[in-house]
């Protein structure tokens, strides 16, 4: 009782600050400060569409679970409230951007909101056929088997993007439970969410040895908590050969058999064919988009490239909405190219970011664009050299699909010789006509850390400026946003001799 007045007093004292933040992230504030009418209309359109999707999910919860059930869901999964900040994220991404560039980013984010809706429905509305899978394994096969699936690390990736501070309590929970603090913060966040009971259980777990030790090792813990059967796929170390492909395909076939034994799912090869066709279509579109990005200045950049890939390739490649987004992105890029309209009028420098994106500061490239005219052309989570899947037989489909998994982001970079890591970087450097390379030097990523020495020397040999930006993937306490910006400033000022853009 004694503390109540003090708490109320503290809340009142914080009001101006909260009020200021609420105003800064509000729609009217954006409209007042928007660069032009077109940008204002674009932003407003997607702001409302996002609200509509959020409302739709709320309604579906109320219908499916009942009002009491819906409230209980929210209490049990408080992180759902963090997802409401999507319009704030759109604002951060959209700052200073206009025209088709702005539209591409707002559109990308909106499709992710819709996709998240669908993922949440799978998570909460289908417990009788829900499978939990590790994030670098696509949901394709589960969906082809008529199962619902969610990637356990998914929210660990999404939450800090929405709110930089949202992963901290989960990280602390994991560390307090005894997880090594130097482990990657994504498995720590995931472990913390599971410890707090914030992730729904399923019928089965499917994990793998991807991408790293902490991620793979955490599944022993998850298995004991969820107490459900688990299947683990194992990607060989040397995977660019037929022998390794054959081994992995056998593993995937066993996984399918195992899922048929432990879940109500049944493999539908026609459904899987459709999914593979969708993937092929996405691939075609993405390659067309990347081709256009080779032009200087680029017609689109940044979130239109990496965020679109992150979600639509890894979470929902089988959705028509994913293909439609990429069709629209290609259209927007083409229109910009035809009309000589660059994504950003101040494009002076181009870069790629290697290693996982800056989750809790994903709008750093918005800042870099406005400050130095630096555009992000691609990143290691998106960049690939996949070929289309041969959809003629189940065997050929499995082979093509398996290659996508084995040669996927982080997977191909953490397996096999160093060339698997390095060659990609220099290929991308050439492909996109880059001026520099950024390495997102996540403190918890030992595989990435241990390549910096060689990379530094190789870049020096080639005369490529290299920024190794120290940060933590999901925990902003390790390296603050200010510190990250300062690292960029030091690099751009001293190495690139870049002048800042006058506003």
């Amino acid at each position: 009782m004694k503390n109540i007045p003090a708490s109320i007093h503290a809340m009142i004292a914080r009001l101006p600050e909260k009020g200021k933040r609420t105003w800064q992230s509000s729609l009217p504030e954006y409209l007042i400060h928007s660069p032009d009418l077109n940008a204002a209309l674009t932003y407003m359109k997607y702001w409302m569409l996002n609200c509509k999707e959020i409302g739709k999910f709320g309604l579906e919860c109320a219908v499916h679970l009942g009002p009491v059930g819906a409230i209980r869901l929210l209490i049990k999964n408080p992180w759902l409230l963090t997802l409401l900040k999507v319009n704030d994220l759109m604002r951060r991404y959209g700052r200073g951007r206009t025209g088709r560039y702005l539209e591409s980013i707002c559109m990308t984010l909106h499709t992710i909101v819709a996709g998240t809706n669908d993922t949440l429905k799978q998570m909460f509305f289908s417990p009788d056929r829900l499978v939990i899978i590790e994030d670098l394994l696509p949901t394709d096969i589960m969906h082809a088997m008529g199962l619902a699936a969610y990637q356990l690390e998914g929210m660990g990736i999404m939450l800090p993007i929405m709110d930089p501070n949202s992963a901290m309590k989960y990280i602390d929970e994991a560390e307090n439970e005894g997880m090594n603090p130097d482990a990657c913060s994504l498995p720590k966040t995931t472990v913390g969410m599971v410890l707090k009971g914030h992730m729904p259980t399923g019928l089965a777990l499917v994990s793998s040895n991807l991408p790293c030790d902490a991620g793979a090792a955490s599944y022993s813990f998850f298995q004991r908590v969820y107490d459900v059967p688990i299947y683990r796929v194992d990607v060989p170390y040397h995977f660019y050969n037929e022998r390794a492909e054959n081994l992995f395909i056998e593993d995937v076939k066993e996984m399918i058999t195992w899922l048929e034994k432990h879940t109500p799912g049944r493999m539908d090869w026609d459904c899987f064919r459709k999914i593979c066709e969708n993937r092929n279509h996405l691939l075609e579109l993405e390659l067309e988009l990347w081709d256009m990005l080779r032009v200087r200045p680029a017609p689109l950049a940044s979130e239109a490239v990496w965020l679109s890939h992150l979600w639509h390739y890894n979470v929902s490649p089988d959705y028509d909405a994913s293909a439609r987004l990429f069709e629209n992105l290609v259209k927007l890029a083409r229109k910009n190219l035809e009309n000589n309209i660059p994504a950003t009028e101040n494009e002076r420098y181009r870069t790629i970011v290697w290693n996982p994106p800056f989750l809790h500061f994903s709008d750093i490239f918005n800042w870099a664009e406005r400050t130095y005219g630096l555009t992000l052309m691609n990143d290691s989570m998106s960049y690939h050299h996949h070929g289309p899947i041969d959809i003629s037989t189940p065997e050929s489909m499995l082979r093509g699909w398996s290659r996508i998994v084995m040669q996927g982001p982080m997977v191909r970079h953490t397996r096999g010789p160093a060339e698997n890591y390095l060659d990609d970087i220099f290929r991308a450097h050439k492909q996109f006509d880059l001026d520099m390379i950024w390495v997102a030097n996540h403190v918890g990523c030992k595989g990435g850390q241990a390549m910096n020495g060689i990379l530094r020397e190789k870049c020096r040999e080639r005369g490529i400026p290299l920024l190794i930006l120290d940060y933590d993937l999901s925990d902003p306490r390790i390296v603050s946003h200010d510190n990250m910006k300062r690292q960029v400033e030091h690099f751009m000022d001293n190495v690139m001799k870049a002048k800042r853009i006058e506003h």
Binding site: Q223, D234, E254, A450
Partner: protein
Amino acid sequence: MSTEKTKIIKLFQELLENPQNRLVEQAAESGRIPIGYACSFVPEPLLMADRLFPVRLHATGVAGTELADNYLSSLLCSYTRSILEFAMDDRYDCIRGWVFVPSCAHMQRFIDNFDYLKKPGFCHVIDVPRKVSAVTLAWQTEELHILAKKLSSHFGMDMSDASLMKAIGEWNRFCGVMRQIGDIRKRPNPSITGAEFQSVVMASLASPKDLILPHLEALYSEIEQEEGAGKYRARLMVVGGHLHDPEFIDIIESQGGLVVADRFCTGSIPGFRPVHVNGDPVRAMAEHSFEKTLCPRMMEDFDTRLKTIIDTVREYHVDGIVLEIIKFCDLWGVDAMPLVSALRKQGIPVLKLEREYRLGGEGQLRTRVQAFIESMGK
């Protein structure tokens, strides 16, 4: 402790002072070929065929890793940094070939950086799967056949079945004596301490087996009938990853905890099982490589690891477990979370210690172990 035993133990301790001890140099000078390796998944008998002999890489006595840190980063396992440091310093200049396993991210990057910096003439990576099944056993067998072929073609070695059977016989003899020595530690008053045993194990793994075997046999005959002279308050088991410096165990034992069992990479459990050949010796070695390790990299073996530790606690009458984890090790760091909880649920006291590969923080270590033993009521 008898004078003879003291002399033999001192010999092992001296052999451990150098990453390439005099037995390695002696064998190399006589035309034999030392092959360096760093992981327990490497089948030693395969590297004992013909004139080959395996040398377990260690960096006991490493003073710092300033050179290696430029490449491997100071946020990586200090074992990999230490052996890279030694490699960059040419401390392994006798070694003619290298066989590695990408057991973890740290080891993988060690391999990458080692290959980049030293450009070794022979460097092979065995792609050991992370789970055991009929399919992966067949894969592992094929991997070892590939290695055998490469060793044969590069060094001109006889890797025929007969040669491999001879090597397996030699390995089994070595294991037999090691197990006999290890079994002495099950006794209420063992005549060999944990630190002494660790010196023996590490020195033996880093030496040609035929040259170290007489010393092992001599040691066994000395201690077989002896009773231990030390007074200890508790019997401990050490569990964890790479532990090469017996000083670490010595410090634990200085506080009254006798280390009677070791479940770490170069420990006795399950480390010294013989290879049972039933047909193809390479397949037998593949099976053996899975059986003789209990590493958290093996994704499906958590329950087996847990059970083995619990069974060892019962068999060796262990009072408590010291779980030592090299800082930045994700495999053990993450695995420890459910492991410690499961062990404590079984009523087994556990002390979890984070450490570096080279001994440091001795005062803290002493205090922690002392408090742990007291907390067990010993």
